[in-house]
Amino acid sequence: MWVRAFIDPRRWNALLIGIITLGIVWILASRIEVSASGPSALPNPQIGFAAPDFTLDTLDGGTITLSELRGQPVLINLWASWCPPCRAEMPALDTVYRKYREAGFVVLAVNTTFQDSEADARAFAQNLGLTFPILLDRDGAASRRYQLQALPTSFFVGRDGTIRDIVIGGPMSEALIASRVEGLLVEESQ
């Protein structure tokens, strides 16, 4: 019976010392190289992995490539103009963007244009006077690469291009966005 090992002093000492020794040996044996715990080279829409790259046209006629923003914290927000929680969180996104823009923070609002319309997206952005760039995912390639399952979905990307956090669904509150952004800004750039 297992209780014996706890009552008999000899067995108890053996048990305790044995478990502590085994535990420490196992912990030391399963240490990992510090370099191996760094950002994974594989791009995946998952926390701890490199953010999948994309190049998309913006609403005002330019193009933006994610990988060119390396060194700056980025919030990628996938949205559609017909999605109520997406619309609801846009003012909070804009407020946080204007507050932290000077510190290098970037918002990429990726409109899922393949299931929306460019005209609706434009009307919505102008209506609210959004100051961050609106990107147009016309063929849905970027949305597929980020395995978009629900709108809105937000990816918080660190200065090193690694995804730090993912928020599925919304609307996100201003406090939630701001707290995540502050977390990204304190990271040292590489």
Binding site: W2, F6, G23
Partner: protein, 212 residues
């Protein structure tokens, strides 16, 4: 991976749904056990509920303290309920931080392809360990107060300590996986408690017969 479950136009966060289901099953089992121990089932049920509320409050408080600079200007936001603004390091959600933890890359017959690489199916390992622990606890007799509780903590922390090695997302400190340190510490505490309770039981209630 299925972070969300879609039922028609309704999208539900799978994590919350599974937690809710687990809480419900655990409450049901605790209520049944309470009847056997001649405790009032309602009390046990309420205890579980208070535990969840306290865990939520603690987790939110942890998050607010961590990002005080954001909340100090917007105190109302402290009370806005949102799953995403709970501290994973506090209270109820303690285990969730590595809960959906994926495995380290490995070429094994039972590896699963996840995030572009063959990996240890750590979720399956944990599931099997949990079933094993459940069976042991189910079959262990009620010897003294706390026996099952202590045994559960000891077995659970031992399984965490062992299985964390196969994780691919461990938080580390100087290369050492932090979860393992805490697991070993909690394991030793559980053993010390079991020792104390077992000694009391042997002395006061049940004379020890060396022949059995």
């Amino acid at each position: 991976m299925f972070p969300v479950i879609r039922i028609a136009s309704l999208t539900i966060q799978a994590r919350g749904l599974i937690l809710l289901a687990a809480f419900w099953v655990a409450s049901w089992a605790a209520e049944r056990a309470a009847k056997r121990l001649a405790l009032r089932g309602d009390d046990v049920y309420n205890l579980g509920f208070y535990g969840v509320v306290a865990g939520l409050l603690g987790a939110r408080l942890g998050y607010v303290l961590q990002y005080w600079s954001v909340y100090q200007n917007d105190l109302g936001a402290i009370f806005a309920l949102n799953f995403n603004t709970l501290s994973p390091a506090a209270g109820l959600l303690a285990d969730l931080a590595s809960g959906d933890g994926y495995g380290a890359p490995a070429q094994l017959p039972w590896s699963i392809n996840l995030w572009g690489e063959l990996r240890h199916p750590t979720q399956i390992y944990h599931l099997l360990a949990a079933i094993g622990i459940g069976v042991v606890l189910w079959r262990s007799s009620h010897l003294f107060d706390g026996a099952r509780f202590g045994l559960f903590i000891a077995l659970y922390t031992a399984s965490r300590l062992f299985l964390e090695t196969f994780h691919g997302d461990s938080a580390t400190f100087a290369g050492v996986r932090v979860v393992q340190i805490w697991s070993l510490a909690a394991l030793v505490v559980a053993l010390l408690l079991l020792r104390r309770w077992a000694e009391t039981w042997a002395r006061d209630v049940q004379p020890v017969h060396e022949t059995t």
